[in-house]
């Protein structure tokens, strides 16, 4: 299951933040870009971050992470030339690195001790979603479900 694209090129940070916050079960969301000088070059990273309300679950982490990457790539802050970082925090906690694995992303990095986060090469994201800013993705149905009812004693 991939993520469909709405067809418009790019969106503002405010629009991207609002779209992510509109996902049922998401309590906090943001897309931010940060640049640093590395030697004589400027490296730019985009971070897409969401927090899930307790009890909400992600049935297909790879679909969620693909959607987040597409949303980050469509956000018109500044084109990332280093990595796109995905952070998903919640209870239960998914492994973003495993989700990237399932999504067949190859140039990635993440430490199992920090399951909530992992990064993908901006080159690979560009290869999959096209030139920056990418098209605004359509939110797939059933990205996040819940809340799971508390077990009755």
């Amino acid at each position: 299951m991939g993520c469909a694209l709405i067809g418009s090129d790019g969106q503002s940070k405010e629009s991207a933040d609002a779209a992510l916050l509109a996902i049922p079960g998401v309590s906090d969301a943001s897309v931010n870009t940060r640049s640093i000088r590395s030697g004589f070059q400027v490296e730019t990273t985009t971070t897409v971050k969401i927090s899930l309300q307790t009890g909400f679950e992600v049935p297909r982490p790879d679909v969620l992470v693909n959607y987040l990457l597409a949303a980050a790539w469509s956000t018109e802050t500044k084109e990332a030339n280093s990595t796109i970082v995905v952070i998903v925090s919640g209870h239960p906690q998914i492994s973003v690195l495993d989700a990237l694995d399932a999504g067949e992303w190859t140039r990635k990095s993440g430490n199992p001790q920090f399951a909530e986060r992992a990064s993908v090469s901006a080159d690979e994201v560009k290869g999959r979603f096209g030139d920056w800013p990418g098209e605004v993705p359509e939110m797939p149905n059933g990205l996040i479900v819940g809340p799971t009812p508390e077990p009755t004693p």
Binding site: R37, G39, T83, S109
Partner: protein, 695 residues
């Protein structure tokens, strides 16, 4: 407070310089394509000529051609020897002249007068000598395309190709020498103009103040009395020796004039801006009135000298890039010819056909396969290093002048730094650390995985490669908000003399690189100001902050203190080396640097130094000189990051990168796992960060 992540950085002088460099590089690349087209045409022409000549020469002229060839070879050697001797003579004269000028200038408090006419006479004499040398280069270069020699290739490919290669190499060597000497002459001339300009401004100001006032006693009837504070002028005379070269190469190398002109255009624009700016300031100062005039004149002198240095740096860069192209072109031609000759020797059955293809086509093909823009970068960097070397012991004067002038204008005031809080939440710090570690892994390893990290996401090094990933991480975490200083403590259990297990400690102190290029010193102590002062050999606020962190951490000092390794990338490495030269009681036993200019730092002989310096990197050659033989210096071409291919061009702009050096370290197992370095990573390793900002 952290900088606004999304706000575009304000343009700076450095950005302008970098733009100039990028323009130069782009022009150079475009010119390379033009050059390649020209080479392709030339190859076709040579091929046609050879085919025509072959049918004519098959009749009988082999003996005569051999005679011509022998005569040319002898003549070529004679010309080359004569040229070399003449050029050495020029360089010697120049060095003596420059040396005596500078010795005179720097001879304590004694005031020595050097008139404009003296310097102009020296300049004229140097240029006269160069006028003799320049045509000789053309003569040698012409040998390579001499019709008789080309004909001889048909009959004796091996000898002919060797002669061609020798002629090309000789021409390149001589051209390089000519550029250096001509640079010195041009710069000397420009400095005279600079002083004349400044002199006029000072005199105008003095007149405005009442006519009887001599400004600092420094203007004496058209001569400049060089003493005291005017010593920075001496830096100009010799130091700007690196300047002016951009004008020269085009004239010296007529065959690629179009290319040279294109390559010069980028830096030329920077020079033009700098010089125009200086003239405007000087002119404005000259027209000043009243008590303000003297201050204006002082500013004018400052601006003129600063602009001179800026022009010099830009000019040297441009000339060196052009020379890099020329050297690579000549080397590629020579290499192709030698390879063809070897082929002919191994397969003598074909006279001017080798491996089934015409000799000329084979040579041309080899050129296009072997011409490397990365090698051009490496040549250019080597040339810049050579130009800086040519300034000899006066480099410090030049840099000192630059710092003095910058401080006069309110820039480069280092002040003091203090340790404190980062201003970021723990979560934000961890996010930055994680982001950097993951990006580095992707660039260095290229496979799925991650570095060993502690609970806060800090990279725990286990070899030099991961140590440099940590260097990148502290740069990325601190950014333009603070200088992040990291201390690793390694604890291993060893048996003592009584066979009891005891803890053995070793410390690694990691220092950040330059993250702020604004010439005005701000909150972050790892900036351009620290660069200038550190290369000049001065103590910096950054270095003092690192010592403060070591003290706060509690690293023991004194006799029998545990070993300490200082390390860093770029400015971090320079600071690491400077600390080893002034250890303040700490037992610094090892220094590891990457992309750092440290050759001039007086590190004690008992300190091991390992320095990674890619051929294309400008920073390690910034101070000139060569690392002592006793150090371990790892050179060679800059390494490719994961995801890059052989077609990736390595140049000064992208080679100066901690991750690229991490790959370089990984490619040198003897460095990456050097036991003397690895002992700092053994056992349990913990990391602690300190955050420094200027007061």
């Amino acid at each position: 407070m952290p900088a606004d992540d999304t706000a575009p950085p304000a343009p700076t002088i450095v950005d302008a310089y970098l733009d100039g460099i990028e323009e130069t590089a782009a022009a150079g690349v475009a010119a390379a394509y033009h050059l390649q087209d020209a080479q392709a045409d030339a190859v076709h022409d040579v091929q046609d000529a050879q085919a025509a000549a072959a049918s004519d020469l098959q009749d009988a002229q082999s003996t005569a051609v051999h005679d011509v060839q022998d005569t040319q070879a002898v003549a070529g050697h004679d010309v080359q020897d004569a040229q070399t001797a003449a050029t050495v003579g020029v360089l010697g004269s120049l060095a003596r002249a420059a040396g005596s000028t500078s010795r005179a200038v720097t001879s304590g408090g004694a005031a020595v007068a050097v008139t404009f006419s003296d310097v102009e006479a020296m300049t004229t004499s140097i240029q006269s000598l160069n006028l003799l040398v320049a045509p000789m280069i053309g003569t040698v270069a012409a040998l390579a395309v001499d019709p008789d020699l080309l004909e001889s290739l048909v009959l004796s490919p091996l000898t002919g190709a060797n002669a061609e290669a020798a002629a090309l190499r000789a021409a390149t060597r001589l051209t390089t020498q000519l550029v250096v000497t001509e640079s010195l002459a041009l710069v000397t001339a420009s400095v005279v103009s600079t002083y004349q300009l400044a002199d006029s401004a000072l005199q105008a100001s003095a007149a405005a103040l009442g006519g009887g006032v001599s400004v600092g006693g420094s203007v004496v009837g058209g001569a400049v009395t060089v003493a005291g504070t005017s010593i920075h002028g001496a830096g100009d005379v010799v130091g700007a020796a690196a300047s002016g070269a951009w004008d020269v190469a085009g004239a010296a190398v007529t065959g690629v004039r179009g290319f040279a002109g294109a390559a010069a255009s980028g830096a030329g624009s920077v020079v033009g801006v700098a010089v125009a700016g200086a003239e405007n300031v000087a002119g404005a100062a000259g027209s000043g009135v009243g008590g303000v005039a003297a201050a204006q004149a002082d500013l004018a002198v400052t601006m003129v000298t600063a602009a001179g240095v800026a022009a010099g740096l830009a000019g040297a860069l441009s000339a060196s890039i052009k020379m890099g192209f020329l050297q690579e072109t000549a080397e590629t031609w020579a290499g192709a010819l030698m390879a063809a000759a070897d082929e002919c020797q191994e397969n003598p059955s074909g006279v001017f056909w080798t491996a089934g293809i015409p000799l000329a086509v084979g040579v041309g093909q080899s050129i296009f396969e072997n011409f490397s823009l990365s090698d051009v970068s490496a040549n250019a960097v080597s040339n810049i290093g050579g130009l800086v070397d040519a300034t000899g012991p006066y480099f410090d004067d030049i840099l000192g002048m630059l710092i003095h002038d910058a401080q006069t204008l309110g820039m480069a005031n280092d002040g003091e730094a203090e340790l404190g809080i980062s201003g970021l939440s723990a979560e934000a710090l961890e996010e930055r650390a994680g982001e950097a570690a993951e990006a580095s892994w992707i660039e260095i390893a290229g496979t799925e995985g991650s570095f060993e990290q502690d609970l806060s996401g800090r990279v725990i090094p286990r070899d030099v490669s991961s140590l440099l990933a940590s260097a990148k991480q502290i740069d990325a975490t601190g950014g333009q908000d603070f200088a992040e200083i990291r201390i690793f403590e390694s604890v291993t259990m060893v048996e003592d003399a009584q066979h009891k297990l005891v803890e053995q400690h070793a410390y690694t102190v990691q220092i950040p690189s330059t993250l702020v290029w604004n010439p005005y010193a701000g909150a972050v102590p790892n900036d351009l100001t620290a660069d200038l002062l550190a290369v000049h050999g001065d103590q910096t606020a950054l270095m003092n902050a690192v010592f403060d962190a070591m003290e706060e951490y509690g690293i023991p000092t004194g006799p029998n203190a545990p070993p300490v390794m200082t390390t860093g990338f770029s400015l971090g490495g320079i600071t690491a080396a400077a600390m080893a030269a002034d250890p303040r009681g700490y037992n610094i036993e090892q220094v590891v640097t990457a992309g750092s200019s440290i050759s001039g730092i007086a590190i004690p002989d008992d300190v091991r130094v390992t320095a990674l310096e890619a051929d294309e990197d400008l920073v390690p050659v910034a101070a000139g000189g060569r690392n002592p033989e006793s150090w371990t210096t790892v050179g060679g071409p800059g390494s490719l990051l994961a995801g890059e291919s052989d077609s990736t061009i390595i140049y000064p702009g992208n080679v100066h990168d901690a991750n690229r050096y991490a790959v370089m370290a990984a490619e040198h197992a003897e460095i990456n796992t050097d036991p003397q370095i690895a002992r700092f990573f053994s056992g349990e390793v913990t990391a602690t960060d300190y955050y420094a900002t200027r007061k």
